[in-house]
Structures are given as structure tokens and as C-alpha cells.
């Protein structure tokens, strides 16, 4: 369990340090594109938040025996290079905020309700509060941009965007170790809970959110259904 917890906090450290750079870049691009200053400011604040989150992750990784961690600062854009600059910016905001940060918020509030230790609880509370703002940034940007830009191109791109957020391990077969309830004490969701939460957040928050903006979610829903079926019947 400790090994899985160490791997989780180490991976989080890498993701949080990269998010520091990503949000700073988003802030610059939002400002340059003429988006509301409040949104660019929110992205800049998110960049600072992520730096603080990374420090927490580093501390918990060290508590579980991780050696010195190197921050991940090299940024690779998520969006297809074939899109226009404004479409790429929109893709980046949606992938980071509407998908990844919205999923993170769901995970953090779930972890928070199961957390026991005072220090872990305080950190999860702090992070959950921040992630709400990071998620809102994406939905706020969609609300602002919908009258200025055609959002329909996103429909065909939601599937790879969402698949990328799941990562390679999300739908792995659940082993007893990866599903140990003891992981919760260390701030990590057992894998089956993680899978259920990921699907529930897509089905009840993210995909309905995109539908609110009239973005076609058909392909994304089909992908999700097929992944769920594969996970339920891995040998079929």
C-alpha cells in the first residue's frame, strides 16, 4: 500500500508542477486573446495554487519514502496543431479545466470525505477549494466564448481529450492491492472507486456540461460506454 501511495503522490507532484507552467501559459494566452481579465487572473492564480499543491505532494511522497523529485516543467500542448490559435486555446482550457480539473475536484471531495488524519484532511480541503476555481475557469471561458466562437469543432475532439485524461491505467483490471481500502488513509482512491468516480463525473457533470454548450458528446459517450464494457468483461 505504501508503495502505491508513494507512486500516486510522486505522479501528482509531476502533474502539479506541469500544471504550474500550463496555467501560467494559459494566463498569458487568455490575456493576449482579449478574454476577460478576471479569467486570465484566475489562470495566473491557478498557476500559483499548483505550485503550492506540488509542495504538498512532494511532502507526502517523501513521507512514503520517495527520493528527491524533479519538477516537470516541459510543456507540450494538448491541442491538435491543425487548429486555429483561438481553437487551440479553447481546446487547452477545456482539456485542462473542464475535464482534468473537474475530475480532480470530484476525486478530492471524495477523498476528503474518507480522510482521517488532520494534516491530510487540511491539505485535501485546501486543494479541493482551489480545484473548484480551476474547474470553474474552464466553464466560465466556455460561457464567455460561446457567443464569439463556434464550439462545434470540439465535439469530434472530446473523445481523445477525455481518453487522455483517463491515462493508461484507469481501466486496468482491479487487483486486490490496487483496490485496498487502506489506500484512503494515505489520500489515494482504491482503483474500483476511482473508476466509478471517473465515469460518474463524466456522466453527471462533464458531458452534461458540454451538452449545455451544445457540444456534441455522442462520440465521447460511445467511447466511455465501450471502455466500461471492456472493464466489466476484460476477456470478451
Amino acid at each position: 500500500v505504501s508503495e502505491l501511495a508513494r507512486a500516486a503522490w510522486t505522479s501528482r507532484f509531476a502533474i502539479e508542477t506541469e500544471a504550474t507552467t500550463r496555467f501560467a501559459e494559459l494566463a498569458r494566452r487568455l490575456h493576449a486573446s482579449g478574454a476577460p481579465a478576471d479569467l486570465a487572473d484566475l489562470a495566473l492564480r491557478a498557476s500559483r495554487d499548483e505550485l503550492r499543491h506540488a509542495a504538498h505532494c512532494q511532502r507526502f511522497a517523501s513521507l512514503h519514502g520517495a527520493a528527491a523529485l524533479e519538477p516537470k516543467t516541459h510543456l507540450v500542448e494538448y491541442a491538435p496543431g491543425s487548429l486555429s490559435p483561438s481553437q487551440r486555446l479553447l481546446y487547452e482550457v477545456v482539456a485542462q479545466c473542464c475535464v482534468a480539473e473537474t475530475q480532480s475536484t470530484a476525486t478530492l471531495v471524495t477523498l476528503l470525505s474518507a480522510a482521517k488524519g488532520t494534516e491530510l484532511k487540511a491539505v485535501l480541503q485546501e486543494l479541493a477549494r482551489d480545484e473548484v476555481q480551476h474547474g470553474r475557469l474552464g466553464w466560465a471561458y466556455l460561457a464567455w466564448i460561446r457567443d464569439r466562437q463556434d464550439l462545434r469543432f470540439l465535439g469530434a475532439l472530446l473523445q481523445p481529450m477525455i481518453a487522455g485524461s483517463a491515462g493508461p491505467d484507469m481501466f486496468n483490471p482491479v487487483s486486490p492491492e490496487a483496490d485496498s481500502q487502506e489506500l484512503l488513509v494515505h489520500g489515494v482512491l482504491p482503483l474500483s472507486t476511482r473508476q466509478q468516480l471517473y465515469v460518474e463525473t463524466l456522466e453527471t457533470v462533464i458531458l452534461p456540461g458540454f451538452a449545455e454548450f451544445e457540444i456534441d458528446t455522442t462520440a465521447a459517450r460511445a467511447w466511455l460506454q465501450s471502455r466500461c464494457q471492456q472493464a466489466a468483461h476484460p476477456n470478451a
Binding site: 490575456h31 491543425s82 487547452e92 477523498l111 481523445p160 481518453a163
Partner: protein
């Protein structure tokens, strides 16, 4: 907390954020804020920009 409540908190809550004024300084130039391609340097100068089909950011938690 029921996860579906996040729809109200994030999606609907986000819709009311940041719609007050445009960026780019106190006196935005004409067109800024109305045409999303009008901003200067809104693309990413990073040579690693883009992937053929697009991808998503990993969920860290």
C-alpha cells in the same frame, strides 16, 4: 457530497464568473474581446505545440 452537485457548482457556477470586462489592459483596442482570433500572440510559441488528433491532460487525483 453527491458528485452530480458539482454540475451546479462548477458548470453553472463557472458561467457567472469573469464575464465583466475584457483583458488586454484597461482600454481594450477595438475588436479585442469580440473576435477570439484578434488577440496578439494568442498561439503557443512552444515548438512542441499540438498533437495530430489532440489529447487530454491527466487527472492527477
Amino acid at each position: 457530497m453527491k458528485i452530480r452537485k458539482l454540475f451546479k457548482i462548477l458548470v453553472l457556477g463557472g458561467a457567472t464568473l469573469g464575464l465583466g470586462h475584457c483583458g488586454g489592459g484597461a482600454t481594450p483596442s477595438p475588436g479585442v474581446g469580440t473576435n477570439p482570433d484578434s488577440g496578439v500572440n494568442s498561439g503557443n510559441p512552444n515548438p512542441d505545440a499540438g498533437s495530430p488528433g489532440g489529447r487530454g491532460g491527466p487527472v492527477g487525483w
